[in-house]
């Protein structure tokens, strides 16, 4: 559990981080909480030459409301997200999912931006961002770029970002009628199947729905068939049950590991989808 030698530099601002990342070239890695990266380094599965610490950049930390949207700085730790009264009140799915990540030590150090950039196929936050149709605000040498969550996660540990870009913030319109449910594996508490649901409801009718799935496949994705089956229907247990049944339809590239086979994961997708929707229903 001894990492290979590396250099360590601390960025003082976002621009400083971008400059340092560009200057360091290949072999550089950003670090904030380090709860994905450091274990990989200790196992020598990752051997970065330079670590650029972005965890102490003041602008990257915090949760605030801006023009009806909520912005979470990329270096905000999960425990702050879980405990945020703003999120608990206005967009409970985010706080709920953050509170289910790993264990208290992981939540106290791990960051939202780190989790999203790392894109572990079993991480919780990607599903949430997809359900919220969140914008991921990225800065690089060429300036700012906004990537929608559903375009961001591309494959196993692969995201729509250049090596010289940095996630600065996550921004989304809060969804009160939202919830996260997961079946987790007992060792890491990573999701075997995790589902985030966000519904827009008016007068007892579901205007629109967005469902994000994690854990089941190589990267987080939308469950569009479920979303369509919910839209323009009365918000009810029956609607939810019928829509959730569609969750695993056509789902390909399902993960398999010692904790859960393809069959089991596939069977759990509708179950956990229904539970997430029931959670949302309880908040309507």
């Amino acid at each position: 559990m001894i990492p290979a030698a590396f250099e360590y530099v601390r960025a003082t601002s976002l621009d400083d981080a971008v400059a340092k990342l560009k200057a360091a070239g290949s072999g550089a890695k950003l670090i904030a909480g380090g709860h994905s990266l450091v274990p990989l380094m200790k196992l020598r599965l990752s051997e970065p030459r330079v670590l650029i610490d972005v965890g102490r950049i003041p602008d990257l930390v915090g949760i605030r409301e801006r023009d009806g949207k909520i912005v979470i700085g990329a270096a905000t730790v999960h425990s702050d997200v879980a405990a945020s009264p703003l999120l608990q009140e206005r967009c409970p799915v985010v706080a709920e999912a953050a509170g289910m990540i790993g264990d208290p030590q992981v939540r106290n150090r791990g960051t939202v931006g780190g989790s999203v950039a790392h894109a572990d196929p079993s991480a919780d936050m990607p599903a949430v961002l997809i359900a919220l149709n969140a914008e991921i605000h990225v800065k690089g040498p060429g300036g700012w770029r906004v990537v929608m969550a559903h375009d961001f996660f591309q494959d196993l540990f692969t995201v729509n970002m250049a090596p010289d870009e940095i996630i600065a913030a996550i921004q989304f319109t809060p969804a009160k009628v939202s919830a996260y449910a997961k079946l987790f594996q007992r060792a890491s508490h990573y999701a075997i199947v995790g589902v985030a649901a966000a519904l827009e409801v008016k007068g007892g009718t579901i205007v629109s729905a967005r469902i994000g799935l994690t854990g089941a496949t190589s990267y987080a994705r939308r469950l569009t068939a479920v979303e369509r089956a919910l839209a323009d229907r009365p918000l009810s247990k029956d609607t939810i049950a019928a829509a959730a049944e569609l969750a695993a339809e056509g789902l390909e590239g399902i993960n398999s590991d010692i904790h859960a086979s393809v069959d089991y994961r596939r069977a759990m997708v509708p179950v956990i989808t229904r539970r997430a929707l029931q959670g949302a229903l309880a908040r309507a």
Binding site: M1, S188, I258, H259
Partner: protein, 788 residues
């Protein structure tokens, strides 16, 4: 010595552990905190394959690295170090500390680096090139027994470390003559026979502090000091001395703070011998600290026993006969106690029951896995699991209440001491009392009503019950190759404070508290005036160590005996000072006086001071107040108990959830119920952990698939309901405290209790048994299978 148990006033009190403030404030000294000027660091190159012939080990690049002191291959080490010793009487293949020709499990050391710091040492390990010729791998013990597809040790053609050993009814003490008539008759007369293959799977011990060693040979003094995270520094000293060619007078072993062991730190490991011999060879202080990743493969594993269990019974529930064919997968090598652990499973095959005929056989098998050895409970949880699962299956077959079935088969209290067919002599017991206590505390009948009501709502709820009896307080010496006694010394210092030593070197047992409680009562002085020293062979003259739940039942008794000796001498000094007869001297409230004349009493310190400046010296006395004692128990102790739980399985996901757990433990008289409960909590957590979340899994190539906490689960507090603990008290006659031992107890009853509850919850799906661990997918498949 009083023959009846005595319970003075601090003994029995719920006193917080004196050890804890330093431990939880980060002020304790562990092996990794030991730093010596000029100290170099060791790292091991380990095999990344499970079985292969070593073609070449190229250490050139590593040796040339800046900061690398030396690099050693297996051949270099073999020239300095004999094969590793074991403490069991079975034949064993040679086991080199560092592999020479063949590697036999993933993680086996193949080369050793000594470097200026840990980072360089680790980099140098990466620079070592090892070429292997892969050999076939066997991970299934039942396949390995056929000698296929590979033979791991040449001299053991069918991979049999211990060939079929019979024990029980009709088997002579030497195992050589076997008479099957009684066991055959039991099965012939039976109304019902239950037969089941059961697996008690492999676990990784995972002490919170990994292993580590610092070895410091001082050529000028010809002394070797070895700090190690060990449960038994005196055994370490004995073996290190033998292996380094030094006398035991030239080796000092120190167990500083030890962050848990669970049995895995009894064994003396390759790394400890290598550090010692290289420190002597290089004349440098050396440190090795185990990585967590190394710990998963290089520290011994626990359990891993298959049992074929047959129970013969009458329709009224009376068990007539029990057969248990055990196959233990011990991994690639015999370690210190490896081969002995499954023999404890045989020894405890009676469990709590008076069974007329029992036959067990044991086969121990080599596979290409990390070697096994003691793990909390060490053989007894396996026996408990097999018997208690079988009893539940029988109850289910007979449609009998599981509590009632057990009641009908208990060894009756009048029969104690009870000599079992397996060679054990149970010291004392009242099993029905513990069962009744649990049934009442849990409201067993109320739980059944609740379960049935929930089932009608479609919920999969099950109830589990398990008894246990275990063997604790190891010795006596006839049972342990190290000797089965324990040693203590009690010194009254000049100022009246007490320094005591114990050979029962604790690693979480709380001996500094419990032993001080005993001495405080014995001398009538405040506990704050007493210090318990342990873990240093230069301070603690002799000792065996802490394992087999022996700290109190053996170590604590030795402390009391040494205390009694020094107290008698102190009474003589007091008698001289007070011009009274020693028989009239009383120790009370920090004063020593003459019975009936409290006004004349002297302070404890005054009498102590006199003993060290004895003017005049009483006739027949030597100055000073320091006495030692060895306690050799006449027998083991056999604590017991009952666990009841309620568990629910999520019908859709298969996830099990523990709703309620009630445990009744009878450990005899308790010195400190708070510490006892802490021990039980930990034991329950590990026992439940085995049933519900913990499992060491290998693939067919012998790779450990659960080699980190990412995949190997440990139970968390959130996995448990609040444990409801109760106690019955059946003192042991084996020692004057009537205390039996409790360190491992929790692991015994919890595991079968959980699985019994899971099987009960799934009883509607036509199953009678499910192997642990209760992986959600496994349970989901049972539920799905029934739907199809």
């Amino acid at each position: 010595m009083a023959s009846t148990p005595v319970l003075p006033k601090l003994v029995g009190a719920r006193i917080k552990r004196r050890e804890d403030p330093r431990l939880i404030q980060g002020r304790a000294t562990y092996v990794d905190d030991v730093k010596i000027a000029g100290m170099q660091h060791i790292a091991f190159k380990r095999s990344d394959i499970a079985h292969g012939r070593i073609v070449s080990v190229d250490v050139g690049a590593a040796a040339a690295m800046d900061g690398v002191e030396a690099v050693f291959t297996g051949a270099h080490i073999a020239a300095m170090l004999e094969p590793l010793p074991i403490a069991t009487p079975f034949p064993s293949p040679p086991h080199r500390a560092v592999a020479v020709d063949v590697v036999r499990y993933g993680g086996e050391p193949v080369a050793v680096v000594v470097a200026r710091n840990r980072y360089i040492a680790r980099d140098a390990v990466d620079a070592i090139q090892v070429e292997y010729e892969p050999l076939r791998v066997v991970v299934d013990p039942e396949l390995a027994m056929t000698g296929q597809p590979t033979v791991i040790h040449e001299a053991f053609p069918n991979n049999l470390a211990v060939p079929l050993v019979p024990s029980g009814t009709g088997v002579s003490a030497d195992g050589k003559t076997v008479d099957d008539s009684a066991i055959d008759k039991a099965f012939a007369q039976a109304d019902v026979v239950i037969s089941q293959r059961m697996m008690n799977h492999r676990l990784v011990p995972n002490a919170i502090e990994s292993r580590g060693v610092v070895a410091h040979f001082e050529p000028g003094k010809a002394m070797l000091t070895v700090w190690s995270s060990t449960q038994n520094p005196h055994i370490l000293r004995t073996l290190i001395a033998a292996m380094t060619g030094l006398g035991q007078n030239q080796v000092r072993a120190i167990a500083p703070e030890v962050g848990g062991g669970f049995g895995s730190k009894i064994n003396i490991y390759p790394e400890e011998y290598v550090a010692a011999v290289l420190s002597k060879h290089l004349e440098l202080p050396l440190k090795w600290i185990e990585d967590r990743s190394e710990g998963f493969v290089a520290t011994t594993h626990g359990r891993d026993i298959i049992a074929y269990v047959d129970v013969a019974a009458r329709r009224d529930g009376r068990v007539l006969g029990l057969k248990m064919r055990l196959i233990a997968d011990i991994g690639a090598y015999n370690m210190l106690l490896t081969a002995a652990i499954p023999t404890l499973t045989m020894m405890m095959a009676n469990a709590n029951y008076d069974i007329p005929a029992i036959r067990t056989t044991l086969t121990e098998v080599f596979t290409n896995k990390t070697p096994t050895d003691a793990y909390r409970g060490a053989g007894r949880p396996e026996a408990t699991y097999f018997v208690e699962r079988a009893m539940d299956m029988l109850a289910s077959e007979l449609k009998m209440d599981p509590a009632e079935l057990r009641r009908r088969n208990f060894i009756s209290p009048a029969k104690f001491p009870f000599a079992t067919q397996m060679g054990a002599v149970y010291d004392s017991g009242d099993y029905e009392k513990a069962l009744n206590c649990a049934v009442e505390a849990a409201d067993w009948n109320g739980l059944k009503t609740q379960r049935d009501a929930w089932r009608r709502e479609g919920r999969l709820v099950g109830l589990g019950l398990s008894m246990y009896v275990e063997v604790c307080g190891l010795g006596p010496s006839s049972a342990l190759p190290t000797g089965g006694w324990e040693h203590a010394q009690v010194t009254i210092e000049r100022d009246g404070r007490i320094s005591a030593t114990t050979g029962a070197s604790p690693h979480g047992q709380g001996n500094e508290t419990t032993f001080a409680q005993m001495l405080a009562d014995q001398f009538g002085i405040p506990i704050e005036h007493i210090t318990i020293h342990h873990g240093d062979t230069a301070v603690v003259k002799q000792g065996i160590g802490s394992f087999g739940s022996r700290s109190q039942a053996v170590g604590g008794v030795a402390v009391h005996m040494a205390g009694a000796k020094v107290k008698a001498k102190m009474a003589k000094f007091a008698a001289a000072l007070l011009e009274a007869h020693e028989d009239d001297i009383v120790f009370e409230q920090g004063r020593i006086g003459v019975k009936g004349a409290p006004a004349s009493a002297k302070s404890f310190a005054e009498v102590s001071g006199y003993a060290y400046v004895p003017v005049p010296l009483p006739v027949g006395l030597e100055p000073g107040l320091s006495e030692e004692a060895f306690f050799e128990p006449t027998n083991n102790t056999y604590p017991f108990g009952c666990v009841i739980c309620m568990l629910e399985i999520d019908r859709e996901t298969g996830e099990p959830r523990l709703l309620k757990l009630v445990a009744v433990d009878d450990a005899g008289n308790l010195i400190n119920p708070l510490i006892v409960e802490g021990q039980i909590h930990g034991g329950l957590a590990q026992g439940i952990g085995q049933a519900m979340v913990e499992e060491a899994l290998y693939d067919e190539d012998g790779q450990l698939l659960t080699g980190s906490f990412l995949d190997y689960a440990l139970p968390r507090a959130t996995d448990f309901p609040r444990f409801e603990l109760h106690a019955t008290v059946t003192p042991t006659p084996v020692n004057q405290f009537g205390a039996k031992g409790v360190g491992e107890a929790g692991t015994l009853g919890a595991t079968p209790c959980i699985v019994n509850a899971a099987v009960d919850a799934l009883s509607g799906f036509g199953i009678t048994h499910v192997d642990m661990m209760l992986r959600p997918e496994k349970l989901w498949r049972i539920i799905q299978g029934a739907k199809a």
